[in-house]
């Protein structure tokens, strides 16, 4: 609040009102997105809680995720909330600190993939002709080559891959589907009046793409980002579970790897893999809910549940009025 008042004193009124306008618009948009959309509310709550918990790891636990703090394979207790691993490390602090690595990789990969898919999809859809043909041929080949086996081969040739390399690999292999979706949406709007108006006014192609087309793809970008994050979390966990990642880095995937390789199943230490597995599942559920809710906002036709009831009620009202008018 104090910052806002400071701004009004320092800057001209116009800037301030524009800034407030932006905030108001953002607030309105968010309110519209969340209103009557339980999937969005629950999804954001889950994802938000996990992110905050991972960021606040040092406040929530005083144990070092890399140090031996107890005997091996201790069951969950008041002291060790989620038990300990075979090597006697605290699983609760491993989940929190490991989440930092896993989430950073997932978000970086998703950012890379979204940017590449946006660039390829929009350029190819807007330019058309030869550019479109070449770009789509490349996209289709990347799409049809199976991602995980490709990643396994790459990871094997690169040796034990750290989180940075995994993020890059996932980002640069996971963009193809998004590019196709963005291209078809670009094709759908490229002959609309506002684009033609901009062309007639002599706007540059670059400006048309960034100012006119991309803002109309925002919901697809958001959906693509969330979807790729979901894919990246799974793929990273899978690669590390197979032992292809750097096993000395604490992440949700390497936790699964250590649980598997220390035979947690056979000795009955279920918490060793149930905890990281459940966190990955929870994060996946949150992201999936976000994705569904974004779909429903960007394509109102697909809505289920309460929307249908409202629509049916409105239809019944209109029908009743019509009948009344006739009578």
């Amino acid at each position: 609040m104090t910052i806002a008042t400071d701004l009004t004193q320092l800057s001209p009124v116009k800037t301030e009102s524009r800034f407030m306008n932006f905030l108001k618009k953002l607030k309105d948009n968010l309110a519209r997105y969340y209103k009557g959309n339980p999937a969005a509310i629950i999804g954001s709550a889950i994802v938000g809680t996990i992110i905050v918990a991972c960021l606040a790891a040092p406040l929530l636990t005083d144990k070092d995720p890399n140090r031996r703090v107890a005997r091996g394979h201790q069951p969950p207790s008041a002291e060790l909330w989620f038990g300990s691993t075979r090597a006697g490390k605290d699983i609760f602090s491993q989940v929190l600190y490991g989440g930092r690595s896993s989430l950073t990789v997932a978000f970086t990969a998703a950012a890379i993939a979204t940017i590449v898919s946006l660039l390829v999809g929009v350029t190819s859809g807007y330019m058309g002709g030869k550019v479109d043909e070449v770009m789509m041929a490349i996209t289709n080949i990347v799409l049809v080559l199976p991602g995980i086996p490709l990643l396994i081969i790459l990871a094997a040739l690169l040796g034990e891959v750290g989180p940075v390399v995994i993020a890059m690999l996932l980002g640069f292999t996971g963009w193809a589907w998004g590019a196709r979706v963005m291209r078809s949406q670009t094709l759908a709007i490229r002959n609309k009046e506002f684009i033609i108006a901009a062309e007639v006014m002599g706007e540059s192609k670059w400006r048309i793409i960034t100012v006119e087309i991309i803002p109309n793809l925002i919901s697809l970008v958001a959906g693509g980002f969330v979807g790729t994050t979901l894919y990246a979390i799974g793929a990273q966990a899978g690669l590390e579970f197979l032992g292809l990642g750097d096993a000395s880095v604490v992440s949700w995937g390497t936790m699964l790897y250590w649980a598997q390789s220390s035979a947690a199943f056979i000795v009955g230490a279920w918490w060793d893999f149930v905890v990281p597995g459940a966190v990955i599942a929870l994060m996946g559920a949150g992201l999936a809910l976000l994705n569904i809710s974004i779909d429903q906002v960007s394509n109102p036709k697909l809505r289920t549940g309460a929307y249908i009831k409202i629509w049916k009620r409105m239809k019944a009202d209109v029908d009743a009025k019509r009948r009344g008018a006739k009578a």
Binding site: V144, P146, I153, I292
Partner: protein, 324 residues
């Protein structure tokens, strides 16, 4: 026909890219795979075998294009050399033992999930806003959002470790002789249930959503209104007018779904110790068995492309507009 030929050309191009990729990658990486092979074999490999490997991997002396030609030839003649992991078993022989497991498992699971998914999607769109529409797709989506490795581990833990309903792993009971006996088939089936269930759970939601969303779009079309105006029964409209058109996007999304399924298949084979292609790939990576690794990768690519091609043929069969 033109459509089929164009797709065929595209798949050939994709295979070519995969082969080139296989060829270039080891050359771009630091170190020579042949040295790694020598180390992996514990330094006990005779020099002539090593020379043969060099030749087979294309690491012969000479310009790059010549190496590439040799590599292409070795692939086209199925002369993939011996494995390192199980020296001197030929790569082709090892693969011919593992491939049937994977195809049977992944193929069945994919087909079942497509059929069941389409029916649930159809039903959900038919009863928009009903119980099934509101809860079934979303809850299955939540399950599908778990990585297959995690789903597999949970199913393994619950149904194989605790409840002991299903065996702990492998493709069939090793004590039984393979053959068409009832006992062996029963063992095959009970070993396949959990891996198949994992794959099924990870794929079904995608098909339901694709089908349902396609149906919702199709139901708004004029020809549906027309069919209704003609007084056709809802059932006939659903199956003969809407579903037939709504299934097209389902067929086009096969490309993405299959790549995803193959990735999941690998994790599943590791968790359930299933003797398929994915497990062979991971094992060969573990011991740096380059010939086997590359052959596995190529084979997986070929399978995905063949499945895509089958989907294309189905597309032509479903969409008369392409048959000109």
């Amino acid at each position: 026909m033109g459509f089929i030929l164009r797709r065929l050309a595209f798949y050939l191009a994709a295979i070519f890219v995969a082969i080139t990729f296989n060829f270039l990658l080891p050359r771009l990486m630091p170190g020579d795979p042949v040295d790694a092979i020598f180390l992996a074999a514990g330094g006990t490999m005779p020099p002539e075998v090593l020379a043969a490997y060099k030749e087979m991997l294309g690491f012969v002396d000479g310009p790059l294009w010549q190496q590439y030609a040799i590599y292409l030839k070795s692939i086209l003649t199925f002369d993939l050399g011996p494995t390192i992991m199980l020296y001197p078993v030929p790569v082709t022989k090892l693969l011919s033992q593992t491939v049937p497991w994977t195809i049977a498992l992944a193929g069945t699971a994919t087909l079942i999930s497509i059929v069941v998914g389409c029916f649930i999607g159809l039903f959900a769109s038919y009863n928009r806003g009903g119980f099934v529409d509101r809860f079934v797709p979303v809850s299955l989506q939540l399950i599908a959002s778990m990585p297959q490795a995690v789903t597999a581990l949970f199913l393994f833990f619950i149904f194989a470790m605790i409840l002991k309903w299903f065996p702990l792993g492998f493709g069939a009971n090793p004590d039984l002789d393979p053959g068409w006996t009832w006992e062996y088939i029963k063992s095959l089936l009970s070993h396949a249930v959990l891996p198949m269930a994992t794959l099924f759970l990870s794929m079904i939601a995608g098909w339901i959503f694709t089908m349902r969303n396609a149906m919702v779009n199709v139901l708004g079309e004029d020809y549906i209104t027309m069919a209704r105006a003609k007084g056709l029964s809802s059932r006939r409209i659903m199956t003969h007018y809407a579903a037939r058109n709504a299934i097209l996007p389902v067929v086009t999304s096969v490309a993405m779904a299959l790549g995803f399924a193959v990735g999941g298949q690998i994790m599943i084979e590791i968790v359930f110790n299933y003797p398929g292609l994915g497990q062979t790939l991971v094992k060969s990576v573990g011991v740096r068995d380059y010939p086997l690794m590359q052959a596995c990768f190529l084979l997986i690519v070929v399978f995905v492309l063949v499945a895509n091609f089958l989907a294309d043929i189905a597309y032509v069969w479903l969409d008369p507009r392409l048959r000109k």
